[in-house]
Subunit: 145 residues, 2 copies
DNA sequence: TATTGTTATACTCTATAACTATA
DNA sequence: TATAGTTATAGAGTATAACAATA
């Protein structure tokens, strides 16, 4: 296009480009740990101090309850999580990390946290600006401002 | 954490949060159009003027050749693409959009392009700053600067 | 009656290995 | 020999419907 728009829409398109170009690295990391993408999402979203119920976890990772049954079955077979009765509802079951699962979660988070190479090319000031803009957007959205 | 870091890493974590919170909308859009996530990626990455070969398309959307065979089979059965012989290599086949596929691609791109609600809360100036920072990062990475 | 989770079923995605046709 | 694409096979993700236990 002749004139660059520079709107929220065009900025989002750039975010997409960066996300897409980083996909190979992320998938490779998961594969090295022997996890599928959904297993990685489930594992990294588990709160060690507050094990969610199946339905709560399903809501977090946008996963059907019948799908989640299979996913958690496999994570349990791998020894990363275990199902426990829920305290307040005898129908529900909580998904709790095992020690092995906690260790893998830490490893996963550590390896996933580095930004893609594009963002490494920003100066410290520029990175702080980027952080502030995003934090501002999120905060305004949260407060409905 | 007590002190906010404001680095490229923390900025990337915020991008993740926004991406995650927008997932439901994106998946819903695809479902409304009767497409799976991979089908959506394939369709939206096809260049109408320059149909890629199977292997080129597979590289773009990070998809194994045998997986892609099935994906393209289904897109072809739905009438969105058609396989054509490649001009220079009698082994290869190009994946070309049909008229129906071009229309769906336009619809898909139009519906996917709006930014998530968080970014709508930025002013025009802030959005332009965000665009510039991301464009700078991408440009420096591309030129190895 | 409604909700939580599982099972049954069917389809899609995914990768590995073997294969055909072409380079 | 190497590469492009398909097929066969097996496992994992996905959703719908039916179901049992509990709220």
């Amino acid at each position: 296009m002749a004139t660059e728009p520079k709107t929220a829409t065009s900025a989002w398109a750039l975010v997409w480009d960066i996300f897409q170009s980083d996909k190979k690295r992320r998938w490779g990391l998961l594969a090295e740990l022997g996890l599928t993408p959904v297993q990685g999402m489930a594992l990294s979203s588990l709160d060690a101090d507050d094990p969610p119920t199946m339905s709560h976890l399903g809501g977090q990772i946008m996963c059907d309850s019948s799908t989640l049954t299979g996913v958690v079955d496999r994570l349990e077979a791998l020894g990363y999580v275990e199902r426990r009765p829920a305290p307040n509802d005898r129908r529900a079951r909580c998904v709790a990390l095992t020690d092995k699962g906690r260790a893998l979660q830490a490893e996963l988070r550590a390896r996933m946290s580095p930004p893609p190479p594009q963002l490494e090319h920003l100066t410290a000031d520029e990175a702080a600006q980027l952080h502030d803009l995003l934090a501002t957007a999120i905060a305004r959205h949260a407060t409905g401002a």
